[in-house]
Each structure stands twice: as C-alpha cells, then as structure tokens.
C-alpha cells in the first residue's frame, strides 16, 4: 500500500485500539472490586496512542526517505547500467521512468525510460510491501504492549499525559528544525558555490551576467554588487520614499484626527492593501504602472527610459508596504502616554505642533524599528520585481533605468533548464544566503532599536 493509504489504515487501527482498550478497562472494572487509578477513556487513549504513534512516526520518515531508496534500487538493477553517468539527462530519464511506472505518463522521449519503468514499478511495489509490513509490525507491537498494561493499578492518565507532553515538545521542535534546515541547506549549497567562485569576486565584483559563465574564470561574471545596489535602491530607497510618508501620515491622521467611526472602517481598508497577493501587485506594476512611468520619463525628456524601470517596481512595492509602516507607527504613537500630549496641548501648541514636536519624537524608536522591518520585507519581496523589474544588472542612480534585484535573480537562475550542480544554479543559493543574513540582521537591529531606545514614561 502507498504511504497515504497506510496513513488512513493506521488511523483506523488507532480508533479500534481506543475502543478495545476502553472495553477491557470497563470489563476489568466491573469484574473486580477495588480502586481503579484511571478512567476507562484514559486506558483507551493509552492504547490508541501506542497503536498509532510508532507507525505514524515511521511513515513520516518513510515518506521522505523512500523515494531516494526506490531510485537507488532502480539504479542498482542491470537495466540501469546504460544510464548516462551524471547530469540533467540522467535525472530526466529517471523521472520519466517514474512517471511511466506510476501511470502518469504514456510515452517517453528516452527509450531507456521505457526499459526502466517496469524496474521502477517493481522496486516501488517491493518498498511499498516493506512499508506495509513494518507499519503493521509497529502498530501491533504498540498495541500489544499497551493492551497488556491495561490493569486496575495502572495510571493510564499520567502515562497518556506524558506522551502528550512529548508530542507538544516535538511539535515545537519543528520550528528549530526548519530554521536549521534553512541555514544548513543555504550554507551547504553556498559552500559548493564558493568552491567554484571566490567569495571576494562574488561579494565585490561589479559585473553580473550569469548567462555566459567562463569556466576558466567563473567569478568574472558573477559579481553581485549591482544586485545588492538594485535591491537596496528599489526596496530601501524608492519603496521607502513612498511607504514612510504615506504610512506615517495615515497613522497620524488615524490616531490623532480621525473620529472613531471613521477609523473603524479606514483601518481595515488599509489592511486590505496588505492582503492583496504580491503577484497581483506585480501584474499591476508591469501592466499599468511601468508604461505610465516610461511615458512620464519620455515626457520630461528622458529618451532612453526603460519600461522595466526601478521606479515602477519601487513605487508599487512602496504602496504594498504602506499598511505595514502605518500599523507599526500607529502602535508606537498609541504607546506615548496621553499626559505628554495633554501637556503640550495645554501649553498652547496646536495639534500638529504637538504631533511633530512631542509625539513623533517620543515614538521615534518604535517607528524606526518598524521602518527597518519594512525594509527587510521590501528587499525580500519577490513577485513585484520578478514581473516589473528587468533582468539586466546595472549600477545606476537613475530611477528610470532598469535595475535588477537579488530575489529576481534567484528566480531567473533557478527556473532555467540548467543542471543543478552548475555555478549558475548554485549562485542562487549564495544569493539566498546573502538575503537571509541581511534580513536577519535587519530584524535583529530593529528589535535592538525598539528595546534600547524606548524611553520609559511610567
């Protein structure tokens, strides 16, 4: 049986285990007098958990490990001796054979896949049988173990709760595992990249054109400085020029001027702006904003304005970030004690003077922290730049010229038909690592700013 089918079978077995365990506890209780240390339901849960958890754990691991094991088994068969040694073709043949074996494809480009398909199907069947047998053994072992422990003196509730605590701990460890997985995979692939391309060339080189990589000097065309500049220019300069004034002013208006009833429906409206998927913003930027920006540039006399300008992507990204800045500024302004505001107003300052000279300075650490978080989000944003920015890396200060970003290049590098081990695809992981480190640093700095410079008013 497949992993999915086994999963349901195990769940059903667990259900049966629950009833059997409970029935046995009830039978024991009615036949004997004396103190019973747990309710029948607890015994039921004890049996159910022991019946399901070991096979489920096994199936979860098996789900991830078995595809590679099946492939290894196929490669070990005599039919696979004529497979090309490494590279794109080998994996293409193997995946074709897999699709044929599963009945998802009906023809193949490579003759060899047709030969390998039966071997694939056989290996898959064999491994499915192994999985079924192991899951059954685990389920019945767990069931037998727990069933025999259903006795009057057995503290089933404590035992069940110990298992539940382990489950809770296990669930929260997945977060650490994910972080570890991200760091490990980025570091591992980047290490392979930096064994081909020197770190110095990558970090400080000013020429980026991964389409043509000279194998003798791969670092010459993989200098990422134009990408870093483009990312900074679009995400941290243009987008912030839109997002900071708009976000801050709308937060000021909402907290200080607007009536409560107005605030109640304007705030969700701004949040809708944050909920629009980025692919929609990207489409809008490419279809409407970018041509408008180019026409504007032509109108003011710039003849070589690009239709994939940094300005178009940055503007739309800025709009996307407005609600983010606004809600953080909102919180920071609300945290300023009202006695300061009242004091300033009582001295005769107008509301706008109070806001500019008292409230905003007092809320500044929070606002700055929020802006840093917004920058980290803007430079990690992908779809807007993929759809609206260009793929040509240029070092330029001109907002009407085309620039590219780190995220755009990651997508471009990984969606080509290149084989996985080339410098080109590995470069995407090096860029990913850089992006990860920079956003992490921005988040940490933002937290420190908020914590250290917040003035205590109480």
């Amino acid at each position: 049986m497949s992993v999915g089918a086994l999963f349901f079978v195990v769940i059903v077995l667990g259900l049966i285990g629950w009833f059997v365990g409970r029935a046995r506890a009830i039978a024991l209780r009615s036949s004997r007098t004396g103190r019973f240390s747990a309710l029948p339901g607890h015994h039921g849960w004890f049996v159910a958990l022991w019946t399901t958890l070991p096979p489920l754990l096994f199936l979860a691991i098996w789900f991830f490990v078995s595809p590679a094991m099946v492939t290894d088994a196929v490669i070990a068969t005599p039919q696979a001796a004529s497979l090309p040694p490494t590279g794109f073709e080998r994996s293409a043949i193997l995946s074709e054979a897999r699709n044929l074996a599963r009945g998802e494809a009906f023809g193949a480009f490579h003759d060899l896949s047709e030969v390998l398909a039966p071997a694939y199907a056989a290996a898959q069947r064999r491994f499915d049988w192994i999985a079924t047998a192991l899951a059954a053994i685990l389920a019945f072992a767990g069931f037998a173990f727990s069933y025999l422990r259903v006795r009057p003196q057995f503290g089933a509730r404590t035992a069940v709760e110990r298992i539940v605590m382990l489950l809770l701990l296990g669930a929260s460890l997945i977060a650490i595992l994910t972080t570890f997985g991200i760091v490990a995979s980025l570091l591992f692939e980047s290490a392979r990249f930096f064994s081909i391309v020197p770190l110095i060339d990558f970090l400080f080189g000013t020429h980026w054109s991964p389409q043509v990589i000279d194998p003798r000097d791969p670092g010459a065309n993989l200098g990422a400085v134009p990408l870093f500049w483009g990312t900074f220019f679009i995400g941290a300069v243009i987008a912030m020029l839109v997002a900071i004034p708009f976000g801050l002013m709308s937060a000021i208006y909402l907290t200080q001027y607007a009536k409560l009833s107005t605030r109640r429906w304007i705030k969700p409206l701004l949040e809708v702006l944050a909920g629009v998927p980025t692919v929609v913003y990207g489409y809008f930027a490419a279809l409407t904003v970018a041509p408008a920006v180019r026409d504007f540039a032509v109108m003011i006399g710039i003849r070589w304005a690009s239709s994939e300008s940094a300005l178009a992507a940055g503007l739309v990204m800025g709009v996307m970030i407005i609600p983010f800045v606004s809600s953080i500024a909102d919180d920071s302004l609300a945290a300023v004690p009202s006695s300061m505001r009242d004091g300033s107003l009582a001295m005769g300052a107008t509301p706008s003077e109070t806001i500019r000279k008292v409230l905003v300075p007092a809320a500044l650490p929070g606002i700055v922290g929020g802006v840093l978080l917004a920058v980290s989000r803007a430079i990690g944003e992908t779809m807007i730049v993929v759809m609206a920015a260009s793929g040509v890396a240029t070092l330029t200060l001109n907002p009407f010229a085309s620039t590219t970003t780190v995220t755009k290049q990651i997508v471009d590098l990984l969606t080509g038909e290149a084989e996985f081990d080339s410098a080109k695809t590995l470069a995407a992981f090096a860029l990913g690592l850089t992006l990860f480190v920079i956003t992490l640093l921005l988040n940490i700095v933002a937290l420190i700013v908020v914590k250290r410079y917040r003035e205590a008013y109480d």
């Binding site: 000021i252 929609v280 489409y283 003077e353 997508v411």
Partner: protein
C-alpha cells in the same frame, strides 16, 4: 501676534490635509487597482460565439448512437472525423471570414458535446453556437486588429456573447480562448489542504507548549527566537529550502501539491504559532486555577478549558495565515510548480500549478487574449482571499470573548 496665530492655524490645516491626503491616496490606489482588474477581467469570463450551421446529413459521420453512450463517445466522434466536418462547415458558412480559421481550436469540442447530449442531431441540419478565435473574440469585446474588426462588422448579428463555462472547468492551454482556471484552482485547494493538515496541528501544539508548559530555559528561548525569526524570513527562502531539501535531498516529485503544501506549511506555521500564543495568553488565569482546583491535571486544564476558549482566536490567525499562503507565488516557483499543466491534478503527487502561479504564467504570455484571462484569474483569487478574510473577521466578531 494675530498673524502668527493665523500662520500656525494654517500650518495645522495643511498638516491635517496631508494626513487625510495620504489615506485618500492609498485608498485610491487600492480602488484603482481593483477597478483596473475588474474592467479588464470581466470580459475574461465571457466568450464570443458564432452561429455555425452544420448539415450532419451531408457529412456522413459513421457513428451509431450506441457508440456515443458512455466514455467512448468522445473517441468515436474524434475518430469519425468530427473536427474535419466542423472545419468544412465553417469554410462553407464563412468563406469571407477565414472559414475554419474563424473558430477557436476548441470549437469542435462544443459540437461534440452537443452531439453527445443529443445523438438525434446527427440526422438533422442544425445551428450550433461555437466559440471564435482569440483575435475576433478581442475585436468583438473591445478592440482588435483591423482584420478582425472587419470580420466582426461583416458578421454582424451572427456573433453573440455568453458566459465562458470552459473557463471554470478547464486548465491551462496555449490558446487563450480555451484556457480555464479549474486546474490551477484544484492545485491550490490540494496544496492548501496539505498546508492546513500540517501547519494547523503543529502550530497549535507548539503554541500550547510554549505558552502553557515550556520551562524558562535556553532551549525554550531558542524555539521562540526561531519561530519569530521564521515569521520574518522572505518567502523565497522557503522555496530554496523546499528545493534543496524536499526535491534534491529526499527526491520527492517536482511540481507536486504535496511538496508545495509542505513548503507553505513551514511558512505558515510561525504565523499560526504567534496568533495561537496571543489567543492563549488572552484566556484569563482564573479559568486555569479553577480547573486545577477541582482536580484536573495540567493536560486536562489545557485541552478541556484553555484550548476551546482560545480556539476562535487561533482559527482567525489560521485563516489569515492560510490566506497569505494561498496568495503566495515565489516559493512555489522554486519547487517547479510553474510548469505548463494542461490537466487538473488528480492527487497530491501529480504535477500541478496553483492560482497565483497561473496568474504569473499567463501574465508572461505574449498573445493579447491572455490579458483579460490574467485579470479574470486575479478576480477569482481576490474573491477567495476576500471570502477567507471575511470569514476571519466574522469569527473574530462572533466568538471572541472579552474577559
């Protein structure tokens, strides 16, 4: 003195108008975006049809009514050369408008379905509405190439507009008149199912652990830091993780909803944990004390009392996290869900695409007919997101208790 006050009041008014202007402009952008999409996308739900007269008596289709029953009818009609019959009928009916070229590639399928629904048609001369090609479709709806415009004015009232059912039932295609969103929508639903089944239990359990049981020590701090950090990691990094770990290390199938769902689950889980912790924190300690006081164990306190009370808050956070996952594109591009998929996925390991990625793919197409289809798909996506967010707001207002 008075002049100075007047100046200060003027500055006050200006500042106030600036604030209002910022909000109005932001809202205006939102409306402009939505109106642009609706204006362009509304036509994407429609198709242009032309009345095609077909004389089946003259066509000599060697098909018996028995052959048309069941699944074999499609094959029988295709084998009997129905497509050629339709093309010939179009050539005879519209000699000046390009003949068979006038029709969409999928026009004969419409005739096939009509015949299958009513085999008696094979002995009659009938007029069937079939979709026209993309150029004429564009020209009829708005404005097209000069050649297509001429055809439209020549055809006059033989053209009509109707709801494009294929758009809701089909999958990707290279012909804009034949594309549909059902394939991408089904891929999205399967992906979201996997995401929900993994992210929700894991997220809720970790929130419970961190908020209720975790001892204050270095390990707990590490878990908290990594969850808060994961919530801020750019989504494309999760795509790289999925590519490196799920595809390259474990060899799971490319483009499959299960891999997309796993990747998005890792991305959504921190959102659920953070929302869950806030909801659990909001349950007053007196509830826990009361339950402990009557003899409940710590696990019973949490699962019988705290969790049910916190559930509306957790569900709200989950729906918002799922809405974000539904709109997510970049990580799914990394794990190969951008392939051209012409059939809806049948299971969790079939190659599939999702709605946002489909939008991205269509936006890249050169043919002009795809513009309205892209906008129409965006409208569908926005409707789903709006419904999910509306549900979240409803849940919050309906079930949230203020203690």
């Amino acid at each position: 003195m008075r002049r100075r006050i007047a100046r200060r009041y003027a500055a006050e008014r200006r500042f106030r108008w600036l604030g209002l202007g910022a909000i109005v402009l932001s809202a205006a952008f939102l409306f402009f975006l939505i109106i642009t999409m609706v204006m362009q996308g509304a036509a994407g739900f429609l198709e242009t049809r032309v009345q095609l007269p077909i004389d089946f008596r003259a066509a000599e289709l060697n098909v018996t009514p028995e052959q048309l029953r069941g699944d074999r009818g499609d094959l029988a009609l295709a084998g009997a050369g129905l497509e050629g019959v339709v093309d010939a009928a179009a050539g005879a009916a519209f000699p000046t408008a390009g003949g068979a070229e006038l029709l969409s590639d999928g026009a004969w399928l419409r005739v096939r379905n009509a015949v299958k629904a009513n085999p008696a048609l094979l002995r009659q001369q009938v007029v069937i509405d079939v979709p026209v090609n993309s150029d004429v479709d564009m020209a009829f709806k708005r404005a097209g190439t000069p050649a297509a415009e001429r055809i439209v004015s020549a055809m006059g009232d033989r053209l009509s507009s109707g709801l494009n059912h294929d758009f809701f039932g089909g999958a990707d295609s290279s012909d804009p008149t034949r594309v549909g969103i059902w394939g991408a929508l089904k891929g999205s639903l399967l992906t979201m199912l996997v995401t929900l089944l993994i992210a929700f239990p894991v997220g809720v359990l970790s929130a419970l652990y961190l908020e209720e049981y975790a001892p204050r020590n270095r390990w707990t701090d590490l878990i908290e830091v990594s969850i808060n950090n994961l919530a801020a990691v750019p989504s494309i990094i999760f795509g790289l993780l999925g590519l490196a770990v799920f595809l390259n290390t474990f060899g799971l199938p490319r483009s499959a909803p299960i891999v997309g769902g796993l990747t998005l689950a890792l991305m959504t889980m921190p959102v659920i944990v953070i929302a869950g912790r806030n909801a659990i924190k909001a349950v007053p300690p007196s509830i826990r004390d009361a339950a402990l006081g009557v003899g409940a164990s710590p696990v019973q306190v949490v699962f019988h009392h705290v969790l049910p009370l916190a559930l509306p808050g957790i569900l709200t956070g989950t729906i918002i996290g799922m809405a974000r996952a539904l709109g997510e594109t970049a990580p799914l591009l990394m794990i190969g869900m951008r392939a051209f998929i012409a059939a809806p996925p049948e299971g969790l390991t079939d190659p599939a695409t999702v709605l946002p990625v489909q939008i991205f793919l269509w936006s890249d197409e050169v043919a002009r007919g795809f513009v309205e289809k892209t906008s129409a798909a965006i409208i569908v996506l926005l409707v789903f997101l709006l419904a999910m967010n509306g549900l979240a707001i409803y849940l919050r207002n309906r079930f949230e208790t203020r203690w």
